[in-house]
Point group: C2
Chain length 333, copies 2
């Protein structure tokens, strides 16, 4: 059997996770024990949250340890099995990290059907990303029919699903994305009512125009200037869903907070964080509903697949932080 190539965290990054924070190692492919199976990684999920996992300190999940294989969700195929729930040939989603092979006992692993959706989609709209969008929007954002929902990172993995679900729920949906092309995708392919290109400037005027009744739900993936542009436009009783702050994760001077946060007071609004893991008991119901929308064509999955194997992980992660992807970014192994 071949070796198992792995990407390990060698040091904690300051700012962008450059090549020197990673170690690429190889070791023999492990053997599954009784009740275990071996999976061959097919696709690796790339997520903004990874940047947080690389930092020391208390968070919603322990940091990746120095020297450890980088944490990542993957889709893999079972190649050897001593667990009848995961037969050889099955495709599974697992959190086995950035490596070519992994042994699992099946805990937290789901079998997925490649005939229902392309495999990368199980890391995107029909995976953790979709679940993040679903629970963040519906449970934290609590949109009502007719509400105006604004989503930043609208062309990104989570944002693109958030907006589509908000449309399904009868909301007016305005995306915010970086660049004309992304905005075109968001409106023409994902069905948002409008999309504002923050790189074109004057987001405030765009929000006034496209959200004339103000903003009932703001789903924030980016933080920074975009968050500060939306806050003054909140409606009374608005809900700001904190999903991420990708504009700030690699900032040199540390995180910058939203200067306009007192708009929460003026508008009796709330800003609330969430972690998708808290909803694990409801993943099944959510995935079933989303799979239905997907089958009906009401939920489109935008997946950007980068070739190159696990060795390409460091450079692909930088693509994510540079906003070069549209939809879900996955690495083909």
């Amino acid at each position: 059997m071949t070796d198992n190539t792995q990407v390990r965290l060698a040091q904690r990054p300051k700012g962008l996770p450059t090549d020197d924070v990673w170690d690429v190692t190889t070791e023999p492919v492990p053997e599954p024990g009784e009740g275990e199976f071996l999976l061959r990684t097919e696709y690796v999920s790339l997520d903004p949250a990874m940047r947080g996992w690389m930092n020391e300190g208390r968070s919603y999940i322990p940091p990746v340890g120095l020297g450890e294989v980088m944490r990542a969700g993957v889709v893999g195929e079972v190649v050897t099995s001593r667990n009848e729930r995961f037969p050889v040939g099955a495709h599974v989603v697992a959190m086995t990290g950035v490596q070519e092979y992994a042994v699992s006992d099946g805990k937290g692993v789901q079998v997925v059907d490649p005939d229902r959706a392309p495999l990368p989609t199980y890391l995107g709209a029909l995976g953790m990303t979709g679940l993040t969008a679903y629970f963040g929007l519906l449970d934290v954002g609590e949109p009502k029919e007719g509400d105006t929902v604004v989503v930043s990172g609208a062309a990104g993995a989570t944002g693109s699903v958030v907006g589509q679900i908000a449309k399904i729920k009868g909301c007016r949906v305005v995306g915010i994305a970086g660049g004309e092309e992304k905005c075109r995708t968001v409106v023409e392919e994902l069905g948002f009512d409008a999309c504002l290109d923050y790189k074109a400037g004057d987001l405030a005027a765009g929000l006034k125009r496209e959200a004339p009744d103000r903003v009932d739900v703001y789903f924030d993936n980016v933080g920074g200037d975009v968050l500060d542009a939306v806050l003054p436009r909140l409606a009374l009783g608005a809900r700001v869903v904190l999903c991420g702050a990708i504009s700030q994760y690699n900032a040199d001077g540390g995180m910058r907070g939203p200067a306009n946060y007192m708009s929460l007071l003026v508008n009796r609004a709330r800003m609330q964080g969430f972690v998708v893991f808290d909803y694990s008991s409801r993943y099944g119901e959510a995935l079933q509903e989303m799979a239905g929308w997907f089958a009906d064509g009401r939920l489109v999955s935008q997946d950007t697949v980068v070739e190159g194997g696990v060795r390409a992980f460091p450079s692909t992660l930088l693509k994510l932080f540079r906003g070069e992807n549209t939809g879900k970014l996955v690495l083909a192994v």
Copy 2:
């Protein structure tokens, strides 16, 4: 009859409201018409929120217009009356502004009993300040028995009441205030479990020590560095109540947002603003409950009364922003 001296807003301040933003004018004392009464102002309330009312732009209440008498809550005595609900000699609370006399038709005016509490207390613990503390803490903060509640501006008008109500509700209460003497008052006279002097430095260590189980409810009156020190110490599911940001109202470089706001995500916490006016239909029930606590000695009102009449309003307001008061700051007219 004598003249009516008034303090009017002459220009919008940048930073601290210095003397030149005010005009002191005199005009004849007005005559009440049918259904109206004339009140002689006895005490004027000074509130951090006043700084916001002086700014242009959309807020929860229209700004004070240039040339208008400065908005303020007052306690006054009815001196002439053509309204039987407000007989001569009655003491009333009204929003008649910084002037010695005012005519009112009684709308939004409450008669108060000087035998139940000193008159300044009706602007403080048993007035709008107390109501702000009551609804902000109980309705927005939702403290449960055994929770740790942290309050900034703990020696101030609102904070001092928030902490006392939290104690009544069975919480561990940690105040944050500026200076040893204020902290002593907060613990010894108001019954907080602890008080941290932010001027003494290392608020983070103090919070670790005094809120070892982390912070379930944070009632924020100040913003800035104090807010940023508390955010990383939030408990899972914590509630941050946004009542004010006095540290930022007069800042030269504009408002600064909380850099540590992503703690809301990590801790699945929310930050929520409110405006006491929204609770007007419940003022009666709240004041009745608070008057009971006051009568029982469970709620202490700290009132700082400054002498000097309405002409002393500008300098007294600066005392407020310099944090020179303990408890409710009122001006005796």
